[in-house]
Every structure is written in structure tokens, then in C-alpha cells.
Symmetry: C2
Subunit: 251 residues, 2 copies
DNA sequence: GGTCTTCGTTACAAACCGTCACAATATCGC
DNA sequence: GCGATATTGTGACGGTTTGTAACGAAGACC
């Protein structure tokens, strides 16, 4: 819960307050003093059902957050990128598993202390709320994707979100896709074959071009935005970032 | 955002602190002083894109919260029941439309004042966090439903969630379904015909029995839980309620 | 360098759900 | 009460996605 800022715009709260000196409290500085831990690709930071003892900040690498249905079906609810928080939950057990997609470096903070800090600090609270807000917005976007978008729209949307996440929304930029096709499928509610076929079709149409196994180039950004559906909305967000209020929950 | 406690368990935060006297601050008492407004069935409380000026508490009735894709496809992201909050967002514009399914009574609170109250009150903050947490959990359940569940599993899950929402999870209870088949379809990522056919099939199997157009009786609860998939999880939650920490974000 | 394993691609048949059509029923207004 | 309208139910058909399988490519390991 409140784990991933599930691939919204890069919205590091700090950048909204450029005038504030560096020593102002921020979520980033909160974790700054903690030691960095490394997780190898494929290893879990925690499992669904574990006691929720810590909150994490991702320093480097990418994680997948997922749940497994009783019959084995896996649903990835989000991917976590550097700067995102993980495990910010009010539940006493994690509701999902978090697993490293690539080699990942994180800092952890004991949950009780984290809550104390948030409670004490009028600067940190709005930052945390903004994170949760972005995460909720991302969850809604995902619901729209899963409820009504076609396979092609889903893949196109995914590539766009990834590109924005990397700050590389202009055409011809190389987009790293660290996750496997199976990860993408379980995130997009498709099968691995459908993902593969759709990527191939996008390549055939000249919209994207494979760069390596885990990277592509966006050749026709406009067309990709069109194929993603939700054209207006995505188009706006392609340029700038979201519209998080800055003076909200002030102080 | 943070609008709906999208049909989780009935989790009025007050009930977790039975020892605390009635005058303790609570989200409910916060809205208590506000006048009640009535919205007729089909009318909108606010529209996607409106300036987000108010936060609402639903007193009576049911609302649907939805977004419309550029080509007209509608996705309902949640239904709002009495006791739920609506419009608790950090964005300066509402990201979705909220519309009355039935005649609905609400209280509204000016956004800035609401934020001030939350910020000032160490009692209210954990309550609001708990709501957001439940909403996020509901969003994840919905992602699982949309990503991997079959039509039958979706309808069965929906009926169960509705039943829990009404506190009527035992068999033979009459479950009111105020929304139309189209609402259900747009919430479950299906078409109206599929919803209709699936309801008919559940009736034929003796799992449910129609009571009226907008109400059913659950005849075989166990079988309905099985058909909903996610058997373990749902089974647990069928009995009790969630596991929101009580002493979290204390004070 | 060679072998093994994992991952990705492609083809074909099958299933599920959506689309279209129309009938039946409920709801609302007069 | 009665008709008009909206909502719901049911069928036949078709399309998109899935499932199964085989093949090819990339990386791991010795």
C-alpha cells in the first residue's frame, strides 16, 4: 500500500521548492542517513504477509510489486523506480511482494520512527501526501488501462509511461525496459505472447525500433501517443509534469 | 483521488476507539456541522476538471466515480457509500466525475479548511490515513480483478464486495444493487450483455436468486466465494474486517 | 568454445467476450 | 391506466486475445 508512485511523472517533491535551502527536511534527506542495502535481481525485499516493519526508499534499480492469486495468477500492481517509496502502509502486514527486477539499492527506515518523523514534521507531511496522491492517480490510470484499453493501447501506454519516467519523452530517445516480457504481461493484464506480438507490430509500423533486448527507440512519438488512447490527457502530460498543488497541506 | 473508500470493509475509524468519548475529534464530527445537500439520481456533484474546492462526506445514497476516455469509453473507478469521503485530493482539479446513482445526501467542507483541520489535529490525521490506506487497498483489489479475473469471477467478486459493504455477508441476505447493469459493466471492465448473462448463469446455478431488479439474495455464499477466485483472501475478509493498525500514526 | 537454460518470437487453433439484433420487462410521464 | 422510453435479457455471430507448441536468440556456466 502506498508503495509505489506507480510510474507517474517524475515528481520529486524537492523540485517544487527550489528556493528552500538544502537542509530543509525532505523525504529524501530523511532516508539519507540510512545505510544502503543491495538486492540482487530476482530477490525479494519483503513478501506479501510479512510484518510491515520498515519503509523503504529506492536509491537505484527497479522493483516489481505484485500479488499472487490463490491459483497462481500473478498481478504486478506497479514498478518502483529510484526516488520512490516502498511499503508506506497503514496495514501491519505488507499486502504484496516487492522483488528486484534489476540489482537494486535501497535505504530502509523503521516504520515507527518513520511515522514519528512524519507526524512531527509539517514539512514532510505534504510531501508524503503528494506521493500518495500521485500513487492513487497512477492506480486510477491503471484501472482505466485494464478495464477498457486494447492490447495495443496498453502496450503503447506502458511505453509512454516508462519514457516519461525516464524523462525521455522526445522521439528518437532510447528507452530502457529493464523488466521481462512476462513482467509487462502481468502488469498489463495480457499474456506474454500478446505483448510480444504487439511489440512486433509496433516495430513493423515504424512506431518503435528495438535497440537491444531491453531497450527501444521511439520513432514516432505522436503516433505512439495516439495508439495509447486517452490522447488529450497523455499529450498534455507528455510535455510537462502533473499538477500537484504546491502549497497544499502547507506547514 | 482519495475519493472513495472504494467498497472495502465498513471501517468507520471511530469503532476502533470505543473507549474514547463521543466528543473526540473524528472525520464524522468534522462534517457534522455542515448542512446536508441533496442530489437527485443522475446529477453530478462535480465534474472531472472542475476546480477542487470542496471535500465531501456522503450521508446517504450511493455515488459513482468515473472518467470518460477521449472516445467516449467510460470507466467507473469506484462506488461511494454513506460514511465515505469524496474529493480528498492533492490535485487542484478533480480527476473524475462524481454522480449520484440514487438520491444522495452529502455534506461538504471547504478544501482549505479541511486541510487546516487535518493538519492541526493529531487525532484526525491517522483517521484520514486509514481511509486512504483502505482506498489504496481497494484500488489494488480492483486492479487484480481487471487484470486477471474472468467475467464470472468479476461479477461474483462484485456481489461479495457489495454484500460486505452492506454488512450482509451471510447467505440468504437480501443485497441491494442500486446501480444499473451498465454501471456494473463499466466498473468491472465488461459489457452490459456479459454482466447480464453472467448474472443469469449465477441464478441458474442457484448461487444467487433475483429479489427485484435491483436486489438479489445470495443462496450459496460458499460457492459465490469460490467463484470469485482469490478464495483464501476473500474468505477471511468475509468474516471480519481488515487489519488496519489501531495505534498507527498515533497522535 | 560448447552446452544448457532462460527468454523472446511466431504460427495456428480455440475460447472468451464483444458486437449486433431484437424481444421482454420495468419505469416514468401524462 | 396507458403509452413512450429506458433498461434488461437472450440469441447468433465474429473478432480479439489466449493457449499450445515449436523455434530462435541471448546469456550463464563450465
Amino acid at each position: 500500500m502506498f508503495s509505489q508512485a506507480t510510474m507517474s511523472q517524475p515528481r520529486d517533491a524537492v523540485r517544487h521548492f527550489p528556493a528552500i535551502p538544502a537542509q530543509a527536511p525532505s523525504l529524501r534527506s530523511l532516508f539519507g542517513g540510512q545505510p544502503v542495502e543491495t538486492f540482487e535481481s530476482g530477490s525479494a525485499v519483503f513478501w506479501e504477509g510479512d510484518d510491515a516493519r520498515h519503509v523503504f526508499e529506492v536509491v537505484e534499480g527497479v522493483l516489481r510489486v505484485f500479488r499472487i492469486m490463490s491459483d497462481g495468477r500473478r498481478v504486478i500492481t506497479g514498478f518502483i523506480y529510484p526516488g520512490d517509496l516502498l511499503g508506506v502502509s497503514l496495514k501491519d502486514h505488507y499486502l504484496y511482494t516487492a522483488e528486484a527486477v534489476t540489482r537494486t539499492k535501497i535505504r530502509r527506515y523503521e516504520r515507527g520512527r518513520f511515522q514519528d518523523e512524519i507526524n512531527r514534521s509539517p514539512e514532510l507531511r505534504p510531501q508524503l501526501f503528494a506521493r500518495l496522491c500521485d500513487e492513487m492517480a497512477a492506480a486510477q490510470d491503471q484501472m482505466i488501462l485494464l478495464a477498457r484499453k486494447s492490447a495495443e493501447e496498453r502496450v503503447a501506454s506502458f511505453l509512454l509511461v516508462i519514457a516519461r519516467r525516464l524523462g525521455a519523452v522526445q522521439a528518437q530517445a532510447v528507452i530502457e525496459i529493464p523488466m521481462t516480457r512476462l513482467d509487462m504481461a502481468d502488469y498489463l493484464g495480457l499474456t506474454i505472447e500478446t505483448v510480444s506480438r504487439t511489440m512486433t507490430r509496433l516495430t513493423t509500423c515504424g512506431v518503435i525500433a528495438p535497440s537491444s533486448r531491453h531497450a527501444i527507440v521511439i520513432r514516432k512519438l505522436g503516433k505512439l501517443v495516439m495508439l495509447a488512447g486517452e490522447a488529450d490527457d497523455d499529450d498534455n502530460r507528455a510535455t510537462g509534469m502533473g499538477s500537484v498543488q504546491q502549497a497544499v497541506w502547507p506547514n
